[in-house]
C-alpha cells in the first residue's frame, strides 16, 4: 500500500513539474514582490499527500475479561506499545490561502496499527516446576476515513515557507482487524517447553467506535517549485473521544474466550506526510496564467 501511495505521488509530481517546465516560478504569496500582490493575497491549493503514522494509545479505563481473585488486576494489565508500528495515510488537501493564513480541509484515508501485550503466570509455592507463563501479543489494524479541518499560518519565507498548524478532525471507522498471538513457557511438562499457539485473526469492526474526533497540531513546510508546491507535513493528533466500542466490548466470543476485552482507549498519533499542491487560481498573461479576474 505504501508503494502504491509513493507511486501515485511520484506520477503526480512528475506530471506537474514536467508539464510546465519553462515557467518562471512566480512567488504566489508575496504581494510585495510583484504588481499583482493584491491578487496573490489569496489562493486555492489542491493536492495529494501520502505518508506514515505512528500511534500511541491512551487507556482511559482498564477492562479485562479476567477478574483476578487472589492477585492484583494491575499485574495482568495491558502494556501498550508506543509509536512502535507504522501506519499509513493518503490525504487530499484543499486549502484556501489568505494573507499568510491557510484554511485547509484534508479528507484522508488512514490506516493505523497499534499493539499491546499482557502476561499471565500460574505457579505452585510447593513445587517450582508447576509453573506456566503466558504472553498475549495483540495487534490491531484500524482503517478510518478522516475529515480534518486545519488552520495554518506561514511563519516566514518565500520559496521555502514553513508553517504551523492547528485543527480538529472527525473520523469514521471503515474496517478493523485484530490478531492475537499467545505464546508461553510451560515448566510443568518435564522440561522448559516454549510454545506459540496459532494466532487468532478476527474481524474486529464491531469492537471499535463508528466515529471519533480529536485535535491536531503540527508543523510543516511548503517549497515552491515551478507552479507547484512540495509539502512536508508533520502532525500530532490528540484524540478527544474513545476509539473503541463501549457496547461491544465482549461482543466477540473468540476474543472473550481467551480473556480478551478492550480497554476504553483514545488513539493519539504522529503523522508524517509529503505531498504536492497545485494552485487553482493563475495570474494573467504576463505571468502566463489563467485568471482574468
Amino acid at each position: 500500500m505504501i508503494r502504491f501511495y509513493a507511486l501515485v505521488f511520484l506520477v503526480i509530481s512528475f506530471t506537474a513539474l514536467h508539464g510546465q517546465p519553462r515557467k518562471k516560478a512566480p512567488s504566489f504569496n508575496n504581494p510585495a514582490q510583484n504588481p499583482f500582490g493584491y491578487f496573490l493575497e489569496k489562493q486555492w491549493w489542491i493536492g495529494l499527500k501520502v505518508g506514515t503514522n505512528f500511534v500511541q494509545i491512551d487507556p482511559v479505563k482498564r477492562y479485562s475479561a479476567v477478574s483476578p481473585t487472589n492477585y492484583l488486576s494491575s499485574e495482568t494489565e495491558k502494556v501498550y506499545g508506543e509509536f512502535d508500528k507504522t501506519g499509513s495515510q493518503a490525504t487530499l488537501e484543499i486549502t484556501f490561502y489568505y494573507k499568510g493564513f491557510s484554511f485547509s480541509l484534508q479528507p484522508a484515508y488512514r490506516h493505523s496499527r497499534f499493539t499491546y501485550t499482557n502476561d499471565y503466570e500460574w505457579t505452585d509455592p510447593e513445587n517450582v516446576n508447576n509453573r506456566l507463563e503466558l504472553h498475549y501479543y495483540q495487534e490491531q489494524k484500524v482503517d478510518h476515513a478522516e475529515i480534518p479541518f486545519i488552520v495554518k499560518y506561514d511563519i516566514i519565507g518565500n520559496r521555502l515557507r514553513p508553517y504551523v498548524q492547528l485543527g480538529a478532525y472527525y473520523s469514521f471507522l471503515i474496517n478493523a482487524n485484530k490478531t492475537v498471538e499467545v505464546s508461553g513457557i510451560d515448566y510443568a511438562s518435564g522440561g522448559i517447553n516454549e510454545f506459540t499457539n496459532e494466532p487468532v485473526n478476527v474481524g474486529a469492526k464491531d469492537l471499535f467506535a463508528s466515529n471519533h474526533w480529536g485535535l491536531l497540531g503540527g508543523i510543516g513546510a511548503n517549497y515552491n517549485l515551478g507552479n507547484v508546491r512540495l509539502n512536508l507535513d508533520i502532525q500530532y493528533r490528540m484524540a478527544m473521544s474513545l476509539i473503541n466500542s463501549t457496547e461491544n466490548r465482549f461482543g466477540n466470543d473468540r476474543l472473550s474466550g481467551i480473556a480478551e476485552a478492550m480497554d476504553d482507549i483514545k488513539m493519539n498519533s504522529i503523522s508524517i506526510s509529503i505531498g504536492c499542491l497545485f494552485p487553482m487560481r493563475f495570474l494573467a498573461s504576463g505571468f502566463k496564467t489563467l485568471d482574468q479576474r
Partner: protein, 398 residues
C-alpha cells in the same frame, strides 16, 4: 434569515456527530460481559454449582473447590459486582464439603446444603449477599450425603443418600435444619449398587443429575436412584412405595433435567446411552410406572455424551420461554430456547470459544437479560469460574 438557517444547520450537524461518539458507559458494562475468575495458583481448581443475582445487582456463586487432603469437594463462595468484577470470596474450611445446588434465598439469607466429610451428615449453610460470613449447622435427624435441594415455600425439599440403609431419602427441611417430613426409597441391595453414587460424591465417576421438586400443590419428586435404576420418582412422602416412577435404564438412561410446569406437564431432558434428548413439553405419568426411553424428544448430536443440562424458565421479549443450557462437543455452552406454551423451538445461542466452556447454571437478571455461570479452562487447563452476561438486546431475536 439565511445566516440563521446556516448556523442552525451547522449546530445540527455538530450535535449529530457528537451524539455518535463513544463514552465510557457503566450501563453497557452491566448489560453484557464475560468474566473469568482467575486464581494464579497452579493447582487451584473450581467447579461452579449455582448462581443467584443479589439485590444490589451483583452475583453470588456457589462452587466446589479441590481439596488437598480430601476426596470430597470443598466449598467456595464468590461474590461479583453487577459488572461482573470479583468482589470477595470465602473458602469454607475443609471440615465441610460437598456443596450442592440450589443456592436459595430465604429471609435475606442464601442457603445451601453440604456435609461433614467425617460423619457424612448433611448440614445446612447460610450466608448473606455480601458474604460477610458463612454459618453452617447440622440438619437434625441424621441425613447423609445431600444430593440436591430445592425451595418449597419457606422450606427445602432435600434429596440425600442414606449409605447405611441404601436409601434415596426425600425430606422437607426448614431453614433452621429441622425435618418436617422424610421418606426413604430403596436403591436396591448388594455391595455394588451404591458404587456409582459414592463415585459421584468423590468425583471419580460420573456426575449424576440429581434433582428434586414438586408438582404445584401436589406430589414431590426426585431424580435419583431407586430400585437399581436412575429414575424420576413421585411421592407424597407418606409411604416408601412411590406414587409413580418414570424409570431409566440402570444408570445408562434417565432424566438429565426436569421441571414441573403444573399438573402432569413437565419440561425435561433425558439421556440414553450417551444420547441426549430435550423434551420442552412432555406429559409424564405421575402415578404408575413408565419408562423415560419411550418419551422420544428432540435429539441433539452436538451435545456431549450424557451431558449436563440446565433448564430455566424465563420471560424473554414478554414471552414465557424455556431456556435449555448444555455443553456441546465443540466445548461451548449451547443455549436452546423453546416456547413454554407449546414446546416450539425458538432459537439457539452458543457461548464461549477458544477455551473450553461448560455450563453450571443459567438465570434471569433484573434487566431482563440472562446470566450464565459456567466453567472455563484458562490456558486450556486451569478450571476457573466464569459468568457470561447477555442483555435483552442480545435475546431480541428469540
Amino acid at each position: 434569515m439565511r445566516q440563521v438557517t446556516f448556523i442552525l444547520l451547522i449546530i445540527g450537524i455538530v450535535s449529530g456527530l457528537i451524539s455518535c461518539l463513544e463514552e465510557t458507559n457503566p450501563v453497557f458494562d452491566e448489560n453484557t460481559f464475560t468474566k473469568i475468575y482467575d486464581n494464579n495458583l497452579f493447582n487451584a481448581s473450581y467447579n461452579p454449582i449455582d448462581m443467584v443475582q443479589t439485590p444490589d445487582g451483583g452475583y453470588l456463586i456457589l462452587a466446589g473447590r479441590r481439596l488437598q487432603e480430601s476426596n470430597f469437594t470443598g466449598i467456595y463462595l464468590m461474590k461479583a459486582d453487577k459488572q461482573g468484577n470479583f468482589v470477595n470470596a470465602i473458602e469454607v474450611e475443609e471440615t465441610f464439603v460437598n456443596p450442592i445446588a440450589r443456592l436459595t434465598f430465604i429471609n435475606n439469607n442464601y442457603y445451601f446444603f453440604c456435609m461433614d466429610p467425617l460423619t457424612l451428615q448433611a448440614h445446612i449453610a447460610s450466608t448473606d449477599a455480601n458474604l460477610s460470613e458463612v454459618t453452617i449447622s447440622p440438619v437434625n435427624g441424621g441425613l447423609f450425603y445431600p444430593c440436591a435441594a430445592q425451595l418449597n415455600s419457606n422450606s427445602f425439599i432435600l434429596l440425600s443418600y442414606d449409605h447405611i440403609a441404601k436409601l434415596s431419602v426425600l425430606s422437607l427441611v426448614s431453614p433452621d435444619g429441622n425435618i418436617s417430613q422424610s421418606q426413604g426409597f430403596s436403591i436396591g441391595t448388594g455391595e455394588t449398587v451404591e458404587e456409582p453414587i459414592i463415585n459421584h460424591f468423590i468425583r471419580t465417576g460420573r456426575q449424576y443429575p440429581f434433582d428434586v421438586g414438586r408438582v404445584s400443590g401436589g406430589a414431590y419428586y426426585f431424580n435419583g436412584f431407586y430400585n437399581y435404576t436412575f429414575s424420576l420418582v413421585f411421592t407424597d412422602l407418606s409411604d416408601d412405595t412411590p406414587n409413580g416412577v418414570v424409570q431409566g435404564i440402570q444408570d445408562d438412561g434417565g432424566f438429565s433435567a426436569i421441571q414441573s410446569l403444573g399438573g402432569s406437564k413437565f419440561t425435561a431432558a433425558r439421556f440414553n446411552f450417551g444420547d441426549n434428548y430435550l423434551l420442552p413439553n412432555v406429559n409424564l405419568n405421575t402415578s404408575g410406572i413408565s419408562s423415560s426411553v419411550d418419551l422420544g424428544g428432540n435429539t441433539f448430536p452436538e451435545l456431549e455424551s450424557n451431558t449436563t443440562v440446565k433448564i430455566h424458565r424465563a420471560v424473554v421479549n414478554s414471552k414465557n420461554v424455556l431456556v435449555y443450557g448444555s455443553n456441546t462437543r465443540s466445548k461451548q455452552i449451547g443455549l436452546y430456547f423453546y416456547d413454554e406454551a407449546n414446546g416450539t423451538f425458538l432459537s439457539s445461542k452458543y457461548l464461549g470459544f477458544s477455551n473450553p466452556f461448560e455450563i453450571a447454571q443459567v438465570i434471569s437478571t433484573t434487566d431482563e437479560g440472562l446470566a450464565v455461570c459456567g466453567l472455563t479452562y484458562m490456558a486450556g487447563r486451569f478450571p476457573r469460574i466464569c459468568i457470561i452476561k447477555l442483555d435483552k438486546e442480545q435475546l431480541a431475536g428469540i
